[in-house]
């Protein structure tokens, strides 16, 4: 069956690409600009990606099959440049429309025994997830009703101020917590296009309490160029065991919005890549 073929392919890749190694070059200053000259100092690694076929819903017909990665660090921050080919740029998360996205995954414990399928109970992973829709919100203003459906007419939103925040003393307290409360508002108004989530097994991803990751994505000539940057150690929260002079593991996932990719419908690297931080 197709599922077994994919798993076999993934395991084959696992055995082949276990040798893959990403070195994070020590530089004086990291950057959020994907086209900065500092990236020339870093060695690129091309990581093959295959469709997610471990759990339903699966990605049985992937449209992206590789990602090129570079990394630099300045002792305090580590940044990754991620480049992949995508024929269309999808910058909106709408009814039946999903944004292009990329994520990197670092195990808390620097061991390849941590399951690459987003960790497991007691074996936590950190995931830094960039989406083109968050990038769009920050670059061109929040994608609100007037942007998405410019000709739509609506007469009255009782108490709702854009984007989708309701006053705390709104009379319908049940609707407040249910449809437009603080957590939903906060999820949608991050000041960065990258969100930090932790997971202990697929399906368990949870937003991290402190959101310190930064990023920038640029679409140019049929390719996405995305930088994701995070401090090695963020204050007042948990961090993976990584830093200058240490080695850990890393893996990647990509979503192609126009192919209906979201959540479990993605391509990923089934094997950990060694990450050596200079």
């Amino acid at each position: 069956m197709i599922v077994i073929k994919f798993l076999a392919f993934g395991l084959l890749l696992l055995s082949l690409s276990f040798a893959q190694e990403l070195i994070s070059k020590r530089v004086s200053k990291t950057t959020l600009d994907p086209f900065d000259k500092v990236w020339d100092q870093a060695k690129e690694v091309e990581v093959p990606l295959s469709g997610q076929a471990v759990t339903t819903p699966m990605k049985l017909k992937p449209t992206v099959n590789a990602i090129r990665v570079k990394s630099v660090n300045d002792g305090k921050y580590i940044a990754f440049l991620l480049v992949w080919e995508d024929k269309t740029q999808d910058r909106f998360h709408l009814v039946d429309a999903f944004p292009d996205a990329v994520a990197i995954q670092i195990p808390y414990k620097p061991s390849s025994d941590v399951p690459v399928t987003m960790g497991d109970k007691g074996q936590r992973v950190l995931i830094l997830h960039w989406t083109a829709s968050r990038e769009e919100n920050l670059e061109h203003g929040y994608a609100d009703v007037s942007k998405i459906y410019p000709n739509a007419v609506y007469d009255w939103y009782p108490h709702a101020t854009p984007p989708h925040k309701y006053p705390e003393d709104w009379a319908n307290q049940y609707a407040l917590s249910y449809i437009g409360g603080e957590k939903v508002f906060r999820k949608n108004t991050l000041k960065t296009p990258v969100r930090e989530i932790v997971a202990e097994g697929f399906g368990s991803t949870t937003w991290k309490d402190i959101q310190g990751a930064e990023g920038k994505g640029v679409y140019k000539d049929g390719k996405w160029y995305v930088v994701i940057r995070r401090a090695f150690v963020e204050e007042n929260t948990s961090n993976p065991d990584w830093g200058p002079g240490k080695a850990t593991f890393i893996t990647f996932a990509v979503w192609d919005g126009s192919a209906g990719d979201v959540g479990a419908r993605k391509v990923l690297s089934y094997s950990w890549i060694t990450l050596k931080v200079e």
Binding site: L60, P158, H164, A175, K187
Partner: protein
């Protein structure tokens, strides 16, 4: 996993182990009385979906059958997927958890399509003299069915949707939802909807804050035609004859589920419209349609006094009736503790007033 579906009288595949809730939220709607005034739609919308990103959402909608749909073609596409009832939606293709289809945004933008349209063109001078009518249409009001085996719960890869144990109401956790819309694809009735401003999916919440207080939902109490009654349904082997929902669904079998072939065991039950041909009703409500129509017509001839009395309870009280009793002249509803909540006379009391009010020296205009 195997799970028993009493509406289909067989086991279905379900990805989770399901324990039936302590009580199951259920609504009965009498389609012989719906006039598509849309008061229910407005009530729900004003209460729960007046926000940004929810403009197109109708958690309660009323569509005309045969040619109305919200979203477009939802039931026609469901029947196509089920391949003549060979499958339920849980017989999913490879790589998928639930068999479903994904509506585009424009599919939601025509909630009034086909409204009031009859099944075929009518010649001038046509008179409908027999039941069922050869030219027919009816209105179908719909809410989330709070199914026993929800497809939305099964489809969500993050388990952001759950079914409450205390009343069987199905809810999406807005903090956990990330807007993957797997539930939108999976729900055969298309009652989960994506909020494109908040970037999460939302659905009918069964007015759970009201239900927790012992009150019936907004769409039920505002119904002008008094076609709706909300209560709690028991599984068939535990049916209680004095529970209004059990009486209508399990005992008189006059209220039927919507497209039971989906396999989800939906918990909104319909008394089928007697003017519609049985073949269409069987497709929509299952094999019990003929018996339900016969029973309702017998009731109209006075042969079902208890059923006729119970229908008087519809729209008579905002409180949830847990049990009812029929007296010689009244029907009485009781709450959970057995305390009386409403008493409705079976025959509307006749009032007679003289044509001239002598005290005010005016003539009454509002009497024949």
């Amino acid at each position: 996993m195997k799970a028993y579906n009493w509406q289909l009288k067989r086991e279905i595949n379900y990805p989770y182990e399901v324990k039936r809730p302590k009580r199951q939220f259920a609504v009965v709607m009498d389609l012989n009385k719906c006039i598509a005034c849309q008061t229910c739609t407005v009530a729900c919308k004003t209460t729960w979906t007046p926000g940004r990103g929810q403009e197109y959402m109708l958690w309660n909608n009323v569509e005309t059958k045969p040619y109305g749909f919200y979203p477009l073609g939802w039931d026609v596409r469901l029947l196509e997927l089920l391949e003549g009832n060979k499958k339920t939606v849980f017989d999913a293709p490879e790589g998928e958890r639930v068999l479903g289809w994904k509506p585009e945004d424009m599919d939601w933008m025509y909630p009034n399509i086909g409204e009031d349209e009859v099944n075929e063109p009518v010649d001038i001078g046509t008179v409908l003299e027999s039941l069922p009518h050869p030219i027919w249409m009816f209105y179908l009001p719909r809410i989330c069915n709070h199914c026993t085996y929800p497809a939305c719960v099964a489809a969500c890869p993050r388990q952001a949707i759950y079914k409450r144990e205390e009343d069987g109401i199905v809810l999406i956790d807005p903090e956990r939802c990330e807007g993957y819309q797997e539930c939108v694809k999976a729900c055969p009735y298309k009652k989960t909807m994506f909020n494109f401003v908040a970037r999460i999916s939302q659905k009918c919440i069964g007015c759970f804050p009201r239900v927790e207080e012992g009150l019936q939902p907004q769409c039920v109490i505002t119904c002008i035609g008094k076609i709706r009654l909300m209560g709690f349904i028991s599984p068939p082997e535990e049916a209680m004859p004095d529970n209004p929902i059990d009486f209508l669904v399990h005992i008189k079998k006059v209220a039927l589920p919507l497209y039971p072939q989906s396999g989800l065991e939906p918990n909104v039950y319909y008394i089928p419209p007697i003017n519609v041909p049985i073949k269409f009703l069987k497709q929509m409500f299952g094999d019990g349609a003929e018996h339900a129509v016969k029973t309702y017509m017998a009731m109209r001839e006075g042969k079902e006094p208890e059923l006729q009395a119970l229908l008087h309870l519809f729209g008579s009280t905002p409180r949830i009736p847990y049990s009812f009793a029929v007296g010689p002249k009244e029907v009485i509803a009781y709450d959970e503790k057995g305390k009386e909540i409403v008493r409705v006379p079976l025959v509307e009391p006749l009032q007679s007033r003289p044509h001239k009010d002598e005290r005010l020296e005016v003539v009454r205009q509002d009497i024949p």
